[in-house]
Protein backbone atom coordinates (compact mmCIF):
# COMPACT_ATOMS: atom_id res chain seq x y z
CA UNK A 1 0.00 0.00 0.00
CA UNK A 2 2.86 2.12 0.78
CA UNK A 3 3.94 1.75 -2.78
CA UNK A 4 0.75 3.32 -4.03
CA UNK A 5 1.40 6.22 -6.21
CA UNK A 6 0.37 9.56 -4.72
CA UNK A 7 -1.82 10.21 -7.78
CA UNK A 8 -4.01 7.15 -7.13
CA UNK A 9 -5.74 8.75 -4.22
CA UNK A 10 -6.60 11.91 -5.75
CA UNK A 11 -7.80 9.91 -8.75
CA UNK A 12 -10.04 7.85 -6.58
CA UNK A 13 -11.15 10.97 -4.72
CA UNK A 14 -11.72 12.75 -7.80
CA UNK A 15 -14.00 10.07 -8.93
CA UNK A 16 -16.02 10.39 -5.74
CA UNK A 17 -15.98 14.12 -5.98
CA UNK A 18 -16.83 14.23 -9.60
CA UNK A 19 -20.06 16.02 -9.21
CA UNK A 20 -18.93 18.68 -6.89
CA UNK A 21 -16.27 20.26 -9.09
CA UNK A 22 -18.76 20.29 -11.91
CA UNK A 23 -21.48 21.96 -9.90
CA UNK A 24 -19.13 24.53 -8.41
CA UNK A 25 -17.45 25.41 -11.69
CA UNK A 26 -20.69 26.34 -13.47
CA UNK A 27 -21.37 29.59 -11.70
CA UNK A 28 -18.16 31.63 -12.15
CA UNK A 29 -18.13 31.12 -15.89
CA UNK A 30 -21.63 32.40 -16.63
CA UNK A 31 -20.48 36.08 -16.92
CA UNK A 32 -18.92 35.71 -20.33
CA UNK A 33 -20.75 37.26 -23.10
CA UNK A 34 -19.92 35.08 -25.89
CA UNK A 35 -22.39 33.48 -28.27
CA UNK A 36 -20.87 30.36 -27.80
CA UNK A 37 -20.68 30.87 -24.25
CA UNK A 38 -23.73 28.87 -23.32
CA UNK A 39 -22.37 25.99 -25.21
CA UNK A 40 -18.99 26.36 -23.74
CA UNK A 41 -20.43 26.71 -20.32
CA UNK A 42 -22.54 23.74 -20.75
CA UNK A 43 -19.61 21.72 -22.03
CA UNK A 44 -17.47 23.05 -19.26
CA UNK A 45 -20.09 22.07 -16.73
CA UNK A 46 -20.39 18.69 -18.24
CA UNK A 47 -16.66 18.38 -18.30
CA UNK A 48 -16.50 19.37 -14.70
CA UNK A 49 -18.88 16.63 -13.95
CA UNK A 50 -22.32 17.99 -14.25
CA UNK A 51 -23.59 15.58 -16.65
CA UNK A 52 -27.02 17.01 -16.38
CA UNK A 53 -25.84 20.33 -17.64
CA UNK A 54 -27.51 21.16 -20.86
CA UNK A 55 -27.57 24.01 -23.17
CA UNK A 56 -30.37 26.02 -21.85
CA UNK A 57 -33.53 25.70 -23.72
CA UNK A 58 -33.84 29.28 -24.71
CA UNK A 59 -30.56 29.23 -26.30
CA UNK A 60 -31.34 26.25 -28.20
CA UNK A 61 -34.35 27.81 -29.56
CA UNK A 62 -32.43 30.87 -30.28
CA UNK A 63 -29.84 29.15 -32.11
CA UNK A 64 -30.69 28.71 -35.60
CA UNK A 65 -28.05 26.37 -36.28
CA UNK A 66 -29.37 23.78 -34.02
CA UNK A 67 -26.14 23.40 -32.62
CA UNK A 68 -27.41 23.58 -29.09
CA UNK A 69 -29.83 20.98 -29.85
CA UNK A 70 -27.24 18.76 -31.24
CA UNK A 71 -25.02 19.49 -28.42
CA UNK A 72 -27.69 18.62 -26.00
CA UNK A 73 -28.29 15.45 -27.74
CA UNK A 74 -24.62 14.64 -27.57
CA UNK A 75 -24.61 15.57 -23.98
CA UNK A 76 -27.67 13.51 -23.32
CA UNK A 77 -26.03 10.54 -24.89
CA UNK A 78 -22.84 11.21 -23.05
CA UNK A 79 -24.69 11.56 -19.78
CA UNK A 80 -26.53 8.37 -20.30
CA UNK A 81 -23.30 6.67 -21.20
CA UNK A 82 -21.74 8.14 -18.14
CA UNK A 83 -24.63 7.03 -16.12
CA UNK A 84 -24.40 3.60 -17.45
CA UNK A 85 -20.73 3.70 -16.80
CA UNK A 86 -21.34 4.74 -13.25
CA UNK A 87 -23.90 2.03 -12.72
CA UNK A 88 -21.53 -0.52 -14.16
CA UNK A 89 -18.77 0.76 -12.00
CA UNK A 90 -21.10 0.57 -9.06
CA UNK A 91 -22.02 -2.96 -9.87
CA UNK A 92 -18.35 -3.87 -10.42
CA UNK A 93 -17.57 -2.27 -7.10
CA UNK A 94 -20.38 -4.22 -5.57
CA UNK A 95 -19.08 -7.35 -7.18
CA UNK A 96 -15.57 -6.57 -6.06
CA UNK A 97 -16.84 -5.91 -2.56
CA UNK A 98 -18.61 -9.24 -2.63
CA UNK A 99 -15.45 -10.87 -3.90
CA UNK A 100 -13.41 -9.10 -1.21
CA UNK A 101 -15.87 -10.23 1.41
CA UNK A 102 -15.85 -13.67 -0.13
CA UNK A 103 -12.10 -13.79 -0.07
CA UNK A 104 -11.86 -12.20 3.32
CA UNK A 105 -14.56 -14.23 5.03
CA UNK A 106 -14.55 -17.25 2.77
CA UNK A 107 -18.29 -17.04 2.69
CA UNK A 108 -19.35 -18.30 -0.67
CA UNK A 109 -22.94 -18.45 0.30
CA UNK A 110 -23.57 -14.73 0.13
CA UNK A 111 -22.69 -14.33 -3.54
CA UNK A 112 -25.83 -13.08 -5.23
CA UNK A 113 -24.52 -10.11 -7.16
CA UNK A 114 -26.41 -9.55 -10.38
CA UNK A 115 -26.51 -6.83 -13.03
CA UNK A 116 -28.67 -5.37 -15.66
CA UNK A 117 -25.65 -4.46 -17.56
CA UNK A 118 -25.52 -6.54 -20.60
CA UNK A 119 -21.77 -6.16 -20.78
CA UNK A 120 -21.19 -6.93 -17.13
CA UNK A 121 -23.81 -9.63 -16.95
CA UNK A 122 -21.77 -12.39 -18.55
CA UNK A 123 -18.82 -11.46 -16.40
CA UNK A 124 -20.78 -11.62 -13.16
CA UNK A 125 -22.51 -14.66 -14.41
CA UNK A 126 -19.09 -16.13 -15.04
CA UNK A 127 -18.08 -15.11 -11.54
CA UNK A 128 -21.20 -16.66 -10.14
CA UNK A 129 -20.49 -19.84 -11.99
CA UNK A 130 -16.92 -19.86 -10.74
CA UNK A 131 -18.10 -19.22 -7.20
CA UNK A 132 -20.75 -21.89 -7.54
CA UNK A 133 -18.08 -24.28 -8.67
CA UNK A 134 -15.93 -23.13 -5.78
CA UNK A 135 -18.84 -23.59 -3.45
CA UNK A 136 -19.34 -27.10 -4.71
CA UNK A 137 -15.59 -27.69 -4.33
CA UNK A 138 -15.58 -26.32 -0.84
CA UNK A 139 -18.55 -28.40 0.06
CA UNK A 140 -16.91 -31.49 -1.40
CA UNK A 141 -13.55 -30.66 0.12
CA UNK A 142 -15.23 -30.12 3.43
CA UNK A 143 -16.89 -33.46 3.21
CA UNK A 144 -13.67 -35.05 1.97
CA UNK A 145 -11.75 -33.39 4.79
CA UNK A 146 -14.21 -34.70 7.29
CA UNK A 147 -14.01 -38.10 5.76
CA UNK A 148 -10.26 -37.85 5.51
CA UNK A 149 -10.04 -36.91 9.15
CA UNK A 150 -12.23 -39.76 10.11
CA UNK A 151 -10.31 -42.13 7.86
CA UNK A 152 -7.03 -40.77 9.13
CA UNK A 153 -8.22 -41.39 12.64
CA UNK A 154 -9.22 -44.87 11.67
CA UNK A 155 -5.90 -45.37 9.96
CA UNK A 156 -4.15 -44.09 13.04
CA UNK A 157 -6.15 -46.36 15.26
CA UNK A 158 -5.56 -49.29 12.95
CA UNK A 159 -1.94 -48.41 12.64
CA UNK A 160 -1.57 -48.07 16.38
CA UNK A 161 -3.39 -51.35 16.76
CA UNK A 162 -1.16 -52.87 14.18
CA UNK A 163 1.89 -51.51 15.88
CA UNK A 164 0.77 -52.98 19.20
CA UNK A 165 -0.06 -56.26 17.53
CA UNK A 166 3.18 -56.20 15.71
CA UNK A 167 5.07 -55.64 18.96
CA UNK A 168 3.11 -58.37 20.62
CA UNK A 169 3.73 -60.60 17.65
CA UNK A 170 7.40 -59.85 17.86
CA UNK A 171 7.36 -60.78 21.55
CA UNK A 172 5.39 -63.91 20.77
CA UNK A 173 7.77 -64.84 18.01
CA UNK A 174 10.66 -64.25 20.32
CA UNK A 175 9.08 -66.44 22.87
CA UNK A 176 8.26 -69.05 20.26
CA UNK A 177 11.84 -68.97 19.10
CA UNK A 178 13.00 -69.49 22.64
CA UNK A 179 10.51 -72.33 23.02
CA UNK A 180 11.67 -73.83 19.79
CA UNK A 181 15.23 -73.60 21.07
CA UNK A 182 14.16 -75.42 24.18
CA UNK A 183 12.27 -77.91 22.07
CA UNK A 184 15.38 -78.43 20.04
CA UNK A 185 17.38 -79.14 23.18
CA UNK A 186 14.58 -81.32 24.50
CA UNK A 187 14.38 -83.35 21.35
CA UNK A 188 18.14 -83.70 21.39
CA UNK A 189 17.80 -84.97 24.96
CA UNK A 190 14.99 -87.29 23.92
CA UNK A 191 17.01 -88.58 21.02
CA UNK A 192 19.88 -89.25 23.39
CA UNK A 193 17.59 -90.94 25.92
CA UNK A 194 15.97 -92.97 23.19
CA UNK A 195 19.44 -94.01 22.13
CA UNK A 196 20.20 -95.11 25.70
CA UNK A 197 16.88 -96.95 25.88
CA UNK A 198 17.68 -98.69 22.63
CA UNK A 199 21.08 -99.70 23.99
CA UNK A 200 19.61 -100.91 27.29
CA UNK A 201 16.88 -102.74 25.39
CA UNK A 202 19.54 -104.37 23.28
CA UNK A 203 21.40 -105.47 26.42
CA UNK A 204 18.14 -106.66 27.99
CA UNK A 205 17.40 -108.55 24.83
CA UNK A 206 20.74 -110.31 25.11
CA UNK A 207 20.14 -111.07 28.80
CA UNK A 208 16.61 -112.32 28.12
CA UNK A 209 17.92 -114.57 25.35
CA UNK A 210 20.52 -115.92 27.77
CA UNK A 211 17.70 -116.38 30.32
CA UNK A 212 15.65 -118.26 27.77
CA UNK A 213 18.58 -120.55 27.12
CA UNK A 214 19.11 -121.05 30.85
CA UNK A 215 15.43 -121.83 31.38
CA UNK A 216 15.55 -124.32 28.55
CA UNK A 217 18.50 -126.01 30.21
CA UNK A 218 16.71 -125.83 33.54
CA UNK A 219 13.64 -127.53 32.09
CA UNK A 220 15.85 -130.18 30.49
CA UNK A 221 17.63 -130.69 33.79
CA UNK A 222 14.26 -130.97 35.55
CA UNK A 223 13.12 -133.57 33.03
CA UNK A 224 16.39 -135.43 33.52
CA UNK A 225 15.94 -135.24 37.30
CA UNK A 226 12.38 -136.45 36.99
CA UNK A 227 13.34 -139.42 34.86
CA UNK A 228 16.24 -140.09 37.24
CA UNK A 229 13.77 -139.78 40.09
CA UNK A 230 11.50 -142.33 38.42
CA UNK A 231 14.47 -144.67 38.09
CA UNK A 232 15.35 -144.02 41.74
CA UNK A 233 11.76 -144.69 42.83
CA UNK A 234 11.86 -147.90 40.80
CA UNK A 235 15.12 -148.92 42.43
CA UNK A 236 13.73 -148.04 45.85
CA UNK A 237 10.66 -150.15 45.20
CA UNK A 238 12.87 -153.08 44.12
CA UNK A 239 15.11 -152.57 47.12
CA UNK A 240 12.05 -152.48 49.36
CA UNK A 241 10.81 -155.77 47.92
CA UNK A 242 14.22 -157.35 48.37
CA UNK A 243 14.44 -156.10 51.92
CA UNK A 244 11.01 -157.61 52.59
CA UNK A 245 12.30 -160.87 51.17
CA UNK A 246 15.35 -160.63 53.41
CA UNK A 247 12.99 -159.98 56.29
CA UNK A 248 11.08 -163.16 55.49
CA UNK A 249 14.31 -165.13 55.24
CA UNK A 250 15.48 -163.63 58.52
CA UNK A 251 12.20 -164.66 60.12
CA UNK A 252 12.84 -168.21 58.96
CA UNK A 253 16.39 -168.06 60.27
CA UNK A 254 15.06 -166.64 63.51
CA UNK A 255 12.54 -169.43 63.79
CA UNK A 256 15.23 -172.00 63.11
CA UNK A 257 17.56 -170.39 65.62
CA UNK A 258 14.78 -170.27 68.20
CA UNK A 259 14.01 -173.94 67.65
CA UNK A 260 17.73 -174.70 67.81
CA UNK A 261 17.91 -172.80 71.08
CA UNK A 262 15.05 -174.85 72.47
CA UNK A 263 16.52 -178.05 71.13
CA UNK A 264 19.90 -177.25 72.60
CA UNK A 265 18.34 -176.38 75.95
CA UNK A 266 16.39 -179.61 76.05
CA UNK A 267 19.43 -181.54 74.89
CA UNK A 268 21.41 -180.00 77.73
CA UNK A 269 18.70 -181.02 80.16
CA UNK A 270 18.76 -184.51 78.68
CA UNK A 271 22.52 -184.59 78.99
CA UNK A 272 22.24 -183.43 82.56
CA UNK A 273 19.91 -186.29 83.35
CA UNK A 274 22.35 -188.75 81.76
CA UNK A 275 24.82 -187.76 84.43
CA UNK A 276 28.51 -188.18 83.74
CA UNK A 277 27.80 -189.92 80.44
CA UNK A 278 25.86 -186.97 79.13
CA UNK A 279 28.48 -184.42 79.97
CA UNK A 280 29.97 -184.18 76.45
CA UNK A 281 26.49 -184.04 75.15
CA UNK A 282 25.71 -181.13 77.42
CA UNK A 283 28.84 -179.28 76.29
CA UNK A 284 27.84 -179.67 72.64
CA UNK A 285 24.32 -178.61 73.49
CA UNK A 286 25.58 -175.53 75.33
CA UNK A 287 27.81 -174.69 72.35
CA UNK A 288 24.92 -175.16 70.02
CA UNK A 289 22.82 -172.91 72.19
CA UNK A 290 25.47 -170.23 72.11
CA UNK A 291 25.50 -170.54 68.35
CA UNK A 292 21.74 -170.21 68.23
CA UNK A 293 21.94 -167.19 70.48
CA UNK A 294 24.60 -165.66 68.22
CA UNK A 295 22.36 -166.29 65.27
CA UNK A 296 19.47 -164.70 67.14
CA UNK A 297 21.61 -161.72 67.99
CA UNK A 298 22.67 -161.45 64.37
CA UNK A 299 19.12 -161.74 63.13
CA UNK A 300 18.14 -159.12 65.66
CA UNK A 301 20.78 -156.84 64.20
CA UNK A 302 19.62 -157.73 60.71
CA UNK A 303 16.06 -156.97 61.75
CA UNK A 304 17.13 -153.63 63.12
CA UNK A 305 18.98 -153.00 59.88
CA UNK A 306 15.92 -154.03 57.92
CA UNK A 307 13.82 -151.68 59.99
CA UNK A 308 16.32 -148.92 59.34
CA UNK A 309 16.41 -149.79 55.65
CA UNK A 310 12.62 -149.82 55.60
CA UNK A 311 12.51 -146.41 57.20
CA UNK A 312 15.26 -145.16 54.91
CA UNK A 313 13.56 -146.56 51.81
CA UNK A 314 10.25 -145.11 52.96
CA UNK A 315 12.00 -141.77 53.45
CA UNK A 316 13.77 -142.17 50.12
CA UNK A 317 10.48 -143.08 48.45
CA UNK A 318 8.91 -140.06 50.08
CA UNK A 319 11.85 -137.95 49.00
CA UNK A 320 11.67 -139.38 45.49
CA UNK A 321 7.97 -138.64 45.43
CA UNK A 322 8.58 -135.13 46.74
CA UNK A 323 11.40 -134.75 44.23
CA UNK A 324 9.02 -135.91 41.50
CA UNK A 325 6.45 -133.35 42.60
CA UNK A 326 9.14 -130.71 42.97
CA UNK A 327 10.57 -131.41 39.55
CA UNK A 328 7.10 -131.44 38.07
CA UNK A 329 6.33 -128.09 39.61
CA UNK A 330 9.86 -127.03 38.63
CA UNK A 331 9.09 -127.96 35.05
CA UNK A 332 5.79 -126.12 35.22
CA UNK A 333 7.50 -123.08 36.73
CA UNK A 334 10.20 -123.37 34.10
CA UNK A 335 7.53 -123.40 31.41
CA UNK A 336 5.90 -120.37 32.99
CA UNK A 337 9.29 -118.66 33.25
CA UNK A 338 10.01 -119.55 29.63
CA UNK A 339 6.69 -118.03 28.63
CA UNK A 340 7.42 -114.96 30.72
CA UNK A 341 10.85 -114.61 29.15
CA UNK A 342 9.27 -114.96 25.70
CA UNK A 343 6.96 -112.14 26.69
CA UNK A 344 9.92 -110.12 27.94
CA UNK A 345 11.79 -110.82 24.72
CA UNK A 346 8.83 -109.65 22.65
CA UNK A 347 8.37 -106.60 24.89
CA UNK A 348 12.06 -105.73 24.83
CA UNK A 349 12.14 -106.20 21.07
CA UNK A 350 9.22 -103.80 20.80
CA UNK A 351 10.91 -101.41 23.20
CA UNK A 352 14.11 -101.59 21.20
CA UNK A 353 12.25 -100.96 17.95
CA UNK A 354 10.23 -98.18 19.51
CA UNK A 355 13.34 -96.58 20.98
CA UNK A 356 15.01 -96.71 17.61
CA UNK A 357 11.94 -95.17 15.99
CA UNK A 358 11.83 -92.50 18.70
CA UNK A 359 15.52 -91.83 18.20
CA UNK A 360 14.99 -91.43 14.48
CA UNK A 361 11.84 -89.36 14.93
CA UNK A 362 13.45 -87.08 17.47
CA UNK A 363 16.43 -86.61 15.21
CA UNK A 364 14.07 -85.64 12.42
CA UNK A 365 12.21 -83.49 14.87
CA UNK A 366 15.45 -81.82 15.86
CA UNK A 367 16.23 -81.07 12.23
CA UNK A 368 12.69 -79.79 11.74
CA UNK A 369 12.96 -77.75 14.91
CA UNK A 370 16.21 -76.28 13.74
CA UNK A 371 14.52 -75.31 10.50
CA UNK A 372 11.65 -73.84 12.45
CA UNK A 373 14.11 -71.92 14.61
CA UNK A 374 15.77 -70.58 11.48
CA UNK A 375 12.39 -69.69 10.01
CA UNK A 376 11.39 -68.10 13.27
CA UNK A 377 14.53 -65.97 13.18
CA UNK A 378 13.56 -64.84 9.71
CA UNK A 379 10.01 -64.21 10.84
CA UNK A 380 11.34 -62.29 13.79
CA UNK A 381 13.43 -60.20 11.49
CA UNK A 382 10.46 -59.55 9.24
CA UNK A 383 8.32 -58.81 12.22
CA UNK A 384 10.90 -56.38 13.49
CA UNK A 385 10.80 -54.68 10.15
CA UNK A 386 7.03 -54.82 10.20
CA UNK A 387 7.03 -53.27 13.63
CA UNK A 388 9.36 -50.59 12.42
CA UNK A 389 7.18 -49.98 9.41
CA UNK A 390 4.16 -50.10 11.59
CA UNK A 391 5.65 -47.46 13.83
CA UNK A 392 6.42 -45.35 10.82
CA UNK A 393 2.92 -45.95 9.53
CA UNK A 394 1.53 -44.90 12.87
CA UNK A 395 3.66 -41.79 12.74
CA UNK A 396 2.49 -41.10 9.25
CA UNK A 397 -1.08 -41.77 10.19
CA UNK A 398 -0.76 -39.43 13.13
CA UNK A 399 0.64 -36.80 10.84
CA UNK A 400 -2.08 -37.52 8.36
CA UNK A 401 -4.68 -37.14 11.06
CA UNK A 402 -3.13 -33.85 12.03
CA UNK A 403 -3.10 -32.75 8.46
CA UNK A 404 -6.67 -33.88 7.99
CA UNK A 405 -7.55 -31.88 11.08
CA UNK A 406 -5.85 -28.87 9.77
CA UNK A 407 -7.47 -29.29 6.39
CA UNK A 408 -10.85 -29.57 8.02
CA UNK A 409 -10.01 -26.51 10.06
CA UNK A 410 -9.03 -24.64 6.93
CA UNK A 411 -12.07 -25.72 5.03
CA UNK A 412 -14.24 -24.59 7.86
CA UNK A 413 -13.29 -20.99 6.97
CA UNK A 414 -15.21 -21.41 3.75
CA UNK A 415 -18.85 -21.24 4.09
CA UNK A 416 -20.53 -23.01 1.27
CA UNK A 417 -24.10 -22.90 2.50
Amino acid sequence: MSLESPNDKPAAKSRGAKKSPGAKAGAPEANAVDPLKPFTDTLMSVLSGNLNARVPHDRVQADPTGFGHLLNQVLEQFSSAEHRKQVAAQEIDQALDSLIILVREGDLSRWNTSTEDPQLGPLLEGFGKVIETLRIFVREINEAALRLSSSANQVLAASTQHETSSTEQAAAIHETTATMEELKHASAQIAENAGSVARVAEETLGAARAGRGAIGEFIQAMQQIRSDGVAVADSISKLSKRVERIGTVVEVIDEIADRSDLLALNAALEGSRAGEAGKGFSIVAAEMRRLAENVLESTKEIKNLITEIREATAAAAGAADASKHATESGEKLGAVAAQAVEGILAGVQETSDAARVINLATQQQRTATEQVVASMAEIEDVTRQTTQASKQATGAAAELTQLAGRLAELIKRFKAD
Binding site: D258, D261, L262, N266, A268, L269, S272, S282, A286, R289
Partner: protein
Protein backbone atom coordinates in the same frame (compact mmCIF):
# COMPACT_ATOMS: atom_id res chain seq x y z
CA UNK B 1 78.24 -174.47 83.88
CA UNK B 2 74.57 -174.30 84.42
CA UNK B 3 72.46 -175.45 81.41
CA UNK B 4 70.41 -172.44 80.20
CA UNK B 5 66.72 -173.03 79.77
CA UNK B 6 64.08 -170.64 78.43
CA UNK B 7 60.98 -169.78 80.45
CA UNK B 8 58.89 -171.62 77.86
CA UNK B 9 61.00 -174.78 78.19
CA UNK B 10 60.61 -174.63 81.95
CA UNK B 11 56.87 -174.08 81.61
CA UNK B 12 56.42 -176.98 79.18
CA UNK B 13 58.32 -179.31 81.54
CA UNK B 14 55.77 -178.58 84.22
CA UNK B 15 52.66 -178.65 81.94
CA UNK B 16 50.10 -181.47 82.59
CA UNK B 17 49.46 -184.27 80.10
CA UNK B 18 45.71 -183.64 79.93
CA UNK B 19 43.16 -181.26 81.26
CA UNK B 20 43.17 -181.34 85.00
CA UNK B 21 40.09 -183.02 86.34
CA UNK B 22 37.77 -180.75 88.24
CA UNK B 23 38.65 -180.60 91.81
CA UNK B 24 36.56 -182.95 93.80
CA UNK B 25 34.41 -180.40 95.38
CA UNK B 26 30.62 -180.76 95.47
CA UNK B 27 28.64 -178.89 92.84
CA UNK B 28 24.98 -178.57 92.09
CA UNK B 29 23.51 -178.01 88.66
CA UNK B 30 20.81 -175.39 88.27
CA UNK B 31 18.49 -174.47 85.45
CA UNK B 32 18.87 -170.67 85.38
CA UNK B 33 16.41 -168.22 83.98
CA UNK B 34 15.23 -164.65 84.17
CA UNK B 35 11.74 -163.41 84.73
CA UNK B 36 11.09 -159.73 85.08
CA UNK B 37 14.21 -158.29 86.70
CA UNK B 38 14.79 -161.40 88.80
CA UNK B 39 17.25 -164.19 88.12
CA UNK B 40 16.36 -167.62 89.39
CA UNK B 41 17.91 -171.02 89.52
CA UNK B 42 15.91 -174.27 89.76
CA UNK B 43 17.73 -177.54 90.48
CA UNK B 44 18.13 -179.12 87.09
CA UNK B 45 16.60 -182.39 88.24
CA UNK B 46 13.27 -180.52 88.65
CA UNK B 47 13.26 -179.40 85.00
CA UNK B 48 12.36 -181.80 82.25
CA UNK B 49 11.82 -179.62 79.24
CA UNK B 50 11.69 -176.11 77.88
CA UNK B 51 8.81 -175.01 75.63
CA UNK B 52 7.74 -171.96 73.79
CA UNK B 53 4.95 -170.17 75.52
CA UNK B 54 2.05 -170.85 73.18
CA UNK B 55 -1.50 -169.77 73.66
CA UNK B 56 -2.78 -170.30 77.17
CA UNK B 57 -6.34 -171.13 78.03
CA UNK B 58 -7.33 -169.06 81.04
CA UNK B 59 -9.35 -170.83 83.70
CA UNK B 60 -12.20 -169.24 85.59
CA UNK B 61 -11.86 -168.75 89.34
CA UNK B 62 -8.28 -169.87 89.78
CA UNK B 63 -5.58 -168.06 91.81
CA UNK B 64 -4.06 -165.22 89.84
CA UNK B 65 -0.58 -166.88 89.74
CA UNK B 66 -2.10 -169.58 87.53
CA UNK B 67 -2.05 -167.95 84.11
CA UNK B 68 -4.04 -170.75 82.53
CA UNK B 69 -3.46 -174.15 81.06
CA UNK B 70 -1.57 -175.31 78.01
CA UNK B 71 -1.49 -178.68 76.30
CA UNK B 72 1.85 -180.38 76.08
CA UNK B 73 2.49 -183.88 74.87
CA UNK B 74 -1.14 -184.78 75.55
CA UNK B 75 -0.99 -183.37 78.99
CA UNK B 76 -2.84 -180.38 80.42
CA UNK B 77 -0.24 -178.23 82.14
CA UNK B 78 -1.13 -175.43 84.50
CA UNK B 79 1.19 -172.46 83.89
CA UNK B 80 2.50 -170.57 86.92
CA UNK B 81 3.56 -166.92 86.99
CA UNK B 82 6.44 -166.87 89.47
CA UNK B 83 6.33 -163.10 89.80
CA UNK B 84 2.71 -163.16 90.91
CA UNK B 85 3.34 -166.18 93.11
CA UNK B 86 6.20 -164.37 94.88
CA UNK B 87 4.32 -161.04 94.79
CA UNK B 88 7.11 -159.48 92.68
CA UNK B 89 4.95 -158.14 89.89
CA UNK B 90 3.52 -159.94 86.95
CA UNK B 91 4.93 -161.81 83.96
CA UNK B 92 4.11 -160.93 80.40
CA UNK B 93 4.06 -163.41 77.58
CA UNK B 94 5.90 -162.31 74.46
CA UNK B 95 7.07 -164.07 71.31
CA UNK B 96 10.30 -165.26 72.96
CA UNK B 97 8.83 -166.17 76.30
CA UNK B 98 9.64 -169.71 77.45
CA UNK B 99 7.80 -172.10 79.66
CA UNK B 100 9.85 -174.73 81.40
CA UNK B 101 8.21 -177.92 82.60
CA UNK B 102 8.97 -178.35 86.25
CA UNK B 103 8.36 -181.62 88.14
CA UNK B 104 8.35 -182.47 91.77
CA UNK B 105 7.27 -185.91 92.67
CA UNK B 106 3.96 -186.53 90.94
CA UNK B 107 3.28 -182.83 90.35
CA UNK B 108 3.95 -181.26 87.01
CA UNK B 109 3.65 -177.55 86.19
CA UNK B 110 4.75 -175.07 83.60
CA UNK B 111 6.59 -171.94 84.76
CA UNK B 112 6.95 -168.76 82.75
CA UNK B 113 10.53 -167.61 82.05
CA UNK B 114 11.35 -164.50 80.02
CA UNK B 115 14.83 -165.71 79.16
CA UNK B 116 16.50 -169.03 79.81
CA UNK B 117 20.08 -168.45 80.93
CA UNK B 118 21.03 -172.13 80.70
CA UNK B 119 22.36 -174.86 82.99
CA UNK B 120 24.92 -173.73 85.47
CA UNK B 121 27.01 -175.74 87.89
CA UNK B 122 27.28 -173.92 91.18
CA UNK B 123 29.76 -174.98 93.85
CA UNK B 124 27.76 -175.77 96.95
CA UNK B 125 30.21 -173.72 98.95
CA UNK B 126 29.13 -170.63 97.06
CA UNK B 127 25.47 -171.07 97.92
CA UNK B 128 24.67 -168.63 100.66
CA UNK B 129 21.61 -168.92 102.85
CA UNK B 130 18.69 -166.70 101.93
CA UNK B 131 18.77 -163.35 103.72
CA UNK B 132 17.05 -163.44 107.10
CA UNK B 133 14.03 -161.32 107.67
CA UNK B 134 13.35 -161.35 103.94
CA UNK B 135 9.92 -161.30 102.45
CA UNK B 136 7.62 -164.26 101.90
CA UNK B 137 9.63 -165.23 98.83
CA UNK B 138 12.57 -166.17 101.03
CA UNK B 139 10.84 -169.29 102.37
CA UNK B 140 10.93 -170.79 98.84
CA UNK B 141 14.64 -170.19 98.35
CA UNK B 142 17.38 -172.73 98.80
CA UNK B 143 19.82 -169.90 98.96
CA UNK B 144 21.44 -167.20 96.94
CA UNK B 145 24.59 -166.98 94.84
CA UNK B 146 26.40 -163.67 94.52
CA UNK B 147 27.82 -163.16 91.12
CA UNK B 148 30.67 -160.93 90.03
CA UNK B 149 28.24 -158.09 89.53
CA UNK B 150 25.01 -157.24 91.31
CA UNK B 151 23.15 -158.39 88.16
CA UNK B 152 24.93 -161.70 88.11
CA UNK B 153 23.48 -163.16 91.29
CA UNK B 154 20.98 -166.04 91.42
CA UNK B 155 18.02 -166.83 93.63
CA UNK B 156 18.03 -170.60 93.96
CA UNK B 157 14.48 -171.87 94.26
CA UNK B 158 13.25 -174.77 96.36
CA UNK B 159 11.04 -175.89 93.53
CA UNK B 160 9.41 -178.84 95.37
CA UNK B 161 8.32 -176.61 98.19
CA UNK B 162 7.15 -174.01 95.74
CA UNK B 163 4.92 -176.50 93.90
CA UNK B 164 3.55 -177.78 97.16
CA UNK B 165 2.64 -174.31 98.36
CA UNK B 166 1.07 -173.50 95.06
CA UNK B 167 -1.10 -176.58 95.18
CA UNK B 168 -2.10 -175.85 98.77
CA UNK B 169 -3.04 -172.26 97.90
CA UNK B 170 -5.15 -173.40 94.98
CA UNK B 171 -6.99 -176.06 96.90
CA UNK B 172 -7.51 -174.07 100.08
CA UNK B 173 -9.68 -171.72 98.24
Amino acid sequence: MTPTTTPLQRALRQAPDRTLAAQARPEQEFFCFKVGELRFGVPSENVTEVLRAGLLTPLPRTPSFIMGVTGHRGQVLPVVDLLRFLSKGEARIGPRTRIFVGVSGSYVSGVVADTVLGLRRVPVSEILPPPLGGDAAAEHLLGVVHGGTPHDGLNLLNFSKLLQTARQRAVVR
